[in-house]
């Protein structure tokens, strides 16, 4: 073997040995890369609404009790109505679910919510107490 070949074998041999001895996972490591992706969430389309002006006293006011049809929501509101009669007799309580049975539902749409709201508003409501149950 010539001197050049001998010298070459000095570094090729260890190099080959090193590559073959490396764990397979090191060679198969996932590549870190630069990504550009689109945010898929979409921006919100919500029109801000101001909460309605609050009342500071219930005396002489009309309280509407609204039930969405969920089990026991009406039973809860029945007791609330009794408590108003006992403890706040100056408050007029209207159970809208007895006045208009079409309001007994989960509205399911903005249009239906608006319809139910109109029914309640037409009762001259000063405040609405709603039971959402489940």
């Amino acid at each position: 073997m010539g001197k050049r070949n001998f010298l070459r074998s000095l570094w090729i041999g260890p190099l080959l040995f090193g590559l073959l001895a490396l764990p397979a996972t090191v060679l198969a490591k996932e590549v870190i890369q630069e990504w550009e992706v689109i945010n898929p969430a979409g921006v919100l389309a919500i029109k801000p609404v101001k909460p309605a002006p609050r009342i500071t006293s219930l005396e002489g006011k009309t309280v509407i009790l609204r039930w969405n049809g969920k089990h026991n929501g009406n039973n809860y509101l029945e007791r609330i109505a009794e408590l108003f009669a006992e403890k706040r007799p100056g408050v007029k309580v209207i159970k809208v679910y007895e006045v208009d049975k079409s309001t007994i539902k989960i509205s399911g749409s903005n249009a239906e919510s608006a319809r139910i709201a109109k029914v309640i508003k037409d009762l001259q409501a000063d405040i609405v107490i709603a039971s959402q149950a489940d």
Binding site: E30, V31, I32, Q33, E34, W35, E36, V37, I38, N39, P40, A41, G42, V43, L44, A45, I46, K47, P48, V49, K50, P51, A52, P53, R54, I55, T56, S57, L58, G69, K70, H71, N72, G73, Y76, L77, R79, I80, L83, K87, I104, K105, I106, G108, S109, N110, A111, A117, K118, I120, K121, A125, I127, V128, I129, A130, S131, Q132, A133, D134
Partner: protein, 438 residues
């Protein structure tokens, strides 16, 4: 009511306060007066309910007269919907997926990264403008543009040629009669069901035969995955708030998508054609469903025998929430719940029925008549028997449906004697049918 200038106090249970707040934000209110009561309210005794009312009355009075909002605006409003934000990220494919999941931009399964290049390629499948807003998805009220339909399509593994179908699916599920908001925030294990009719089934390789609702159905799965990506990411419907699914179902991960097996439909008239579409039309039918059940009748030889076992399934599926004498054309009410049912008939089952019932309408009439259940099996308060039915007691068999209009038939699946029965979510008005635009 707040929009009308009438203040409110909303009573919600501990477990549902999160959903209540999400709903509040989705209608534009930054804050509301809530009174929290211990969960649950439903299915507890009268004594317990009255006790909850007694305990919360003082708080109701306080909230009615002393509450003031603690927040005056909702962050993140007013941004234009298009173009969607571009995000730069450095990492592996695995870490990119982790980032998407942590931001609620995925459902936990791997996604294909929606790179601008991939989305641009996807948009070649439609002539609609990418900035068009096709849906504001409740309950989060995210704006779904055509660009985002393409992005979510890429993520799900859809192809550019699927774009007209994706847009038709969005049109169907966004219709008010579907009630997306209700069905994506309910405690029930609901799932979108998408039925496809027309030449597009063969053109796109939509499966309608063996295992169409199972694995290895790449197009059906991609379409179903897309539907839930829209609902969970743009609509924000993730558990535990606002998606309140008590246990949930896997169809909330990949929606139920199938083609009708029109070639093996012995009645020849497809579901779409039955509803006025041309056989050459490509049609999407969508409804939100409670979990379906299986009919595994292997021994009925006569059509009526098989329809008897199918009628049992039709009467009892979604038990506990179904009303009696439901009327298909009337909207949801306490006594009009789950007012139709779909029968996905395997071709062998369809053939057995067809031998004795060559007319599909006769099949529907038979099932509507035979889908009965004992009065005791209906949950309290939701089965109102009409006077003209006559006297009954708890053992009297009471019909589920008032008319054959409630029975919907689709032929689907491969060889085997396995049909499926799928009921709609309780507030669904009707199956929504949309023509796929070219």
């Amino acid at each position: 009511m707040e929009k009308f200038g009438i203040p409110t106090v909303t009573v919600a249970t501990t477990a549902f306060l999160g959903l209540a707040r999400t709903t509040m934000e989705s209608i534009g209110l930054p804050d509301m007066a809530f009174v929290e009561v211990s969960h649950p309210m439903g299915m507890v005794s009268m004594e317990e309910i009255r006790a909850k009312a007694d305990q919360s009355f003082a708080e109701i009075l306080r909230m009615a007269t002393q509450w003031k909002p603690t927040r005056t605006e909702i962050p993140g409003l007013g941004k234009p919907p298009y173009p969607a934000e571009r995000i730069k990220f450095r990492g592996t494919y695995e870490s990119l997926n982790k980032m998407f999941y942590e931001k609620n931009w995925s459902l936990g399964l791997p996604i294909i990264p929606p790179t601008p290049e991939a989305v641009a390629e996807m948009l070649k499948g439609t002539s609609r403008k990418p900035d068009e807003v096709v849906w504001v998805v409740p309950p989060r009220m995210g704006q779904l543009t055509v660009e985002l339909v393409a992005s979510l399509g890429v993520m799900a593994g859809c192809k550019p040629e699927h774009m007209p179908l994706l847009l038709a699916i969005v049109k169907a599920i966004s219709h008010p009669d579907y009630d997306w908001r209700g069905s994506s925030t309910t405690t029930a294990p609901t799932a979108p069901v998408i039925i496809i009719n027309g030449p597009i089934i063969d053109e796109l390789g939509i499966r309608n035969s063996t295992g169409a609702l199972g694995g290895q159905q790449s197009v059906n799965i991609a379409l179903g995955y897309f539907v839930n990506l829209v609902g969970d990411i743009v609509g924000g419907s993730i558990p535990p708030d606002p998606d309140k699914s008590t246990l949930g179902s896997r169809e909330d991960l990949v929606a139920v998508v199938l083609g009708e097996n029109e070639k093996q439909n012995p009645w020849k008239q497809s579901y779409a054609a039955e509803h006025g579409f041309k056989p050459t039309d490509n049609v999407v039918t969508a409804f939100s469903a409670y979990m379906g059940t299986n009919n595994t009748d292997h021994t009925s030889v006569k059509g009526s025998q098989l329809l008897n076992t199918l009628s049992l399934g039709a009467a009892s599926v979604a038990c506990g929430i179904t009303s009696c004498f439901t009327q298909f054309e009337k909207p949801y009410a306490i006594d009009n719940r789950v007012k139709f049912v779909f029968l996905f008939l395997a071709p062998e089952h369809a053939d057995t029925i067809y031998k004795d019932f060559p007319n599909k309408q006769a099949v529907k009439e038979y099932v509507a008549k035979k889908a009965v259940a004992p009065y005791w099996s209906y949950a309290p308060e939701i089965c109102k028997v009409p006077k003209e039915f006559g006297p009954y007691d708890e053992n009297t068999m009471i019909p589920r449906f008032a008319s054959p209009k409630s029975i919907h038939i689709v032929v689907a699946g491969g060889p085997g004697k396995q049909s499926q029965i799928w009921p709609p979510f309780t507030t669904v008005m009707r199956p929504v049918m949309v023509l796929v635009e070219k």
